[in-house]
Amino acid sequence: MTRPRSGKSDPAISRLATVNDMTEEILRLESVSKHFPIRSFRRFGEVVHAMDDVSFILGKGEVLALVGESGSGKTTTASVIAQLYPITSGVIRLADPRSPNGFQSVSRKLSGKELLSYRKRVQMIFQDPFGSLNPTHTIEHILSRPYLIHDKVVRENEGEKRKAALKRQLQQLLRSVGLEPPQQFLDKFPHELSGGQRQRVNIARTFSIEPEIVLADEPTSMLDVSIRISIMNMMLAFQEERQMSFLYITHDLAGARYMAQRIVVMYAGMIMEIGTSDEVVQRSAHPYTKLLRSAAPAPEEGLMRKRLITQGDIPSLIHPPSGCRFHPRCPYVMAQCSKTIPPLKEVESGHSIRCFL
C-alpha cells in the first residue's frame, strides 16, 4: 500500500494521460429526476425540483467531478445513486456482468438482498466528518461493521480466530489511511480525533467494503484548507490502486480539476456543462461555469483579476425559472432563454453545454 506522501507514481498527473481512453462504463444516469414532495397541506402537490433530467456516464476507474453551488442538486444526485431515496423518473444503470443485458437497471427503490448487493458495489462518503461517526461507538466498532454486514472477515489460516482476523484487518485498514499506530486509534471515540482523522476513518469505512463506485460528497469542505489536500491525495491513491470509479462532489472548481478527469457542472438541479477537466476549467463554455471560474480564488493568475459580475441568488427549486434555470442571473441572457430549456449540445467532442450560445 502506498501512502499518499511517499507515492511513487503521481496519481494526479498520471490520470491526465488516461483522460480520453475511457474504456468501459460502470454507471449511467439516463435523464434522472428527483422531486421531493412538500409535506404541507396548503402547498399540496407542489414539489422541490432537486434534480431534473440529469444524464451522465461514469467510466470504470474514472474520477468524475460534480461541481455546483449549494442547492444545485449535486448532493441529491449522489444520494439517489446511493439509494438513499428512490428517483422520481428516469433510470440508473449499473454495469452488471451477471445480468443478461450487461447492466442492472434501477428505477425504483431497491430492498432486501438486492439493496444489500447494490450497496456492496456503490458506497458514499459524507461531507461532515463530525456528524458521520456515531459518538457512542469506538472506532473499532465503527470500522468492524462493514466487515460483519458484508461478511468480509477473512481468516489467514485455519487456526486464526474470527475475532483476531477482524482485528488484523482493521489494523491494516487504519494503516492504509495513515492512522498509525492503529492500535492507538481502535479504542478511541470519534470525539477524541481531529476533523482530518475522523474523515480518514470515514473514508476507511467506505473503502473497507471495496465498492466499485464511491460517491464522495464534499469530503473535504468542512476541513481546514491545510488538511484538505492530504485527504484528497489519499482518496486518489486508493482509487488508483483499486481502480475504483469515483464521483467526486465539490463546489471547488480547482479541487475538481485536481481530482477528476471529467467535470459535470450543475446548477439548480440541472446539468449545465460536462467535459474533460481542462476543457471545463480552461475553456469554460457555459456562462455559469465562467461565473464559477471567475469567482474562484486563483492567486497564481495574478492579483486583482477582472471578474464576471452577476446579481441575484440561487433560484427557488419549488418554482424554478422557466426556460434556462440560469437565465435570471446570466449576463448574456437572450429572449429565448426564459422560454425554452436549452438542450445539452456538444461543443467539442466530449464537451457539452446546456446553452443557446
Binding site: 507515492g7 484538505r228 492530504s230 471547488d252 480564488p297 486563483a298 492567486p299 492579483l303
Partner: protein
C-alpha cells in the same frame, strides 16, 4: 515593526490572550504584534484553532466569561486601550472599530427588523435622532446593494449573502476607522463570496477605512490584502506585504499552506499539504511550535523559539532555517 509609526491606527504589542480553563491557561494568542495603518488591508490566515478569532475578540475587547488578555498592549490611534474602562471601550467599539462576524445566519437578532438593528447602534452612540438614523441606515444599505424596502424586513427573509451584506452595512453605520472581518464568507458559496469581497474592496477604496480580514483560506487573502500575516498556534509566523509573502514564502508553514490549494490553471501539480495537527495550546511544545510538523526541521528547533526576523524589507518570518 516594533517602532510605532505615527500613522498606524491600530497596533498590538506582544499581546497574550486566551481562556482560563481548569486544566490551565490556553494561550490562544501568544505574543502577537502588528501595526495597521490607515486604509490598509491586513489579511490574517491560519487553520482553525490558531487563535485568529481570539485575536479579533481581544482587539475589540469583546471577552466574556473565562476569556482574558493576559499581557501585552493594544493601541488605538496611539492610545493604550488594553485596560481602558468598559465605558470607554463601549464608545470606541463600532464608532471606531467595528466587526463583521463569522456566521451571518446567527449574527442578526431574529426578532428585530433589519432597520432597527442598523439604527440602534447609531442611536446608542448618540449620533442623532431616529429620523437621521434611518436616513443613514438606508444610505449604508444602498452601499451594499440592498434595496430600501428591506429596511423593514426580518433577518429570516434574507438570503445568506444578503445577511452578510447587512452585517457589513451595520459595520459601516458609524464610519469606523477599522473594520475586522472574521471569516465573513466561510459559509457562503463561491459566487456570493466573490461578490462580498469585491464589495468590501470597493467600499474600502471609497471610505478609506482599514480592514483586518481573518480566514483559513489563504488563497482568498493573497489577491485582496496589502499585508499578510500567517498565524500558527497563537503566534504570527510570517508577516509582510501580500505579494512578497506569496511569491517568496519563508516559513515552512506558509509554504505548506501555499501548497494546500490546487490551482485553476497551469499543469496539475502534486501537492503535499501539511501533515499532522496543531499543538495543544495549554501546554505548547518548547521551541518552534511548528517543529513537530515541519518538513525542514533541524537540531535546535525544539529548543529555541525563533523570533520574527526581517528577511527582506518589511517581510518578517519566525524561522531561522533556510
Amino acid at each position: 515593526m516594533k517602532e510605532t509609526l505615527p500613522e498606524s491606527i491600530l497596533e498590538c504589542q506582544d499581546l497574550v490572550a486566551g481562556y482560563e480553563l481548569k486544566a490551565g491557561f490556553v494561550r490562544a494568542v501568544d505574543g502577537v504584534s502588528f501595526a495597521l495603518k490607515r486604509g490598509e488591508f491586513l489579511g490574517i490566515a491560519g487553520e482553525s484553532g490558531c487563535g485568529k478569532t481570539t485575536l479579533a475578540y481581544a482587539v475589540m475587547r469583546l471577552f466574556r466569561d473565562n476569556a482574558k488578555i493576559k499581557s501585552g498592549k493594544i493601541l488605538f490611534g496611539g492610545k493604550d486601550i488594553t485596560h481602558a474602562p468598559e465605558e470607554e471601550i463601549k464608545k470606541l467599539r463600532w464608532e471606531h472599530i467595528s466587526m463583521v462576524f463569522q456566521s451571518a445566519m446567527n449574527a442578526l437578532n431574529p426578532v428585530l427588523q433589519i432597520g432597527e438593528q442598523l439604527t440602534d447602534g447609531w442611536l446608542a452612540h448618540k449620533r442623532g435622532e431616529v429620523r437621521e438614523a434611518k436616513a443613514r441606515a438606508l444610505e449604508v444599505l444602498k452601499l451594499v446593494d440592498i434595496p430600501e424596502d428591506r429596511y423593514n424586513a426580518y433577518p429570516h427573509q434574507l438570503s445568506g449573502g444578503m445577511k452578510q451584506r447587512v452585517m457589513i452595512a451595520m459595520a459601516l453605520m458609524l464610519q469606523p476607522e477599522v473594520i475586522i472581518l472574521d471569516e465573513p464568507t466561510t459559509a457562503l458559496d463561491v459566487v456570493v463570496q466573490r461578490t462580498i469581497i469585491e464589495k468590501i474592496q470597493e467600499l474600502r477604496k471609497t471610505f478609506r477605512f482599514s480592514v483586518i480580514f481573518i480566514t483559513h483560506d489563504l488563497s482568498l487573502l493573497v489577491e485582496i490584502s496589502d499585508l499578510l500575516a500567517i498565524m500558527y498556534a497563537g503566534k504570527i509566523v510570517e508577516y509582510g506585504p501580500a505579494s512578497e509573502v506569496f511569491y517568496n514564502p519563508v516559513h515552512p508553514y506558509t509554504r505548506g499552506l501555499m501548497a494546500s490549494f490546487p490551482t485553476l490553471s497551469g499543469p496539475i501539480v502534486r501537492m503535499g499539504g501539511i501533515e499532522g495537527k496543531p499543538p495543544d495550546l495549554i501546554d505548547p511544545p518548547s521551541g518552534c511550535r511548528f517543529y513537530p510538523r515541519c518538513p525542514d526541521r533541524h537540531d535546535g528547533c525544539d529548543r529555541d523559539t525563533p523570533p520574527l526576523r526581517q528577511v527582506r524589507p518589511g517581510h518578517f518570518a519566525a524561522c531561522d532555517g533556510e
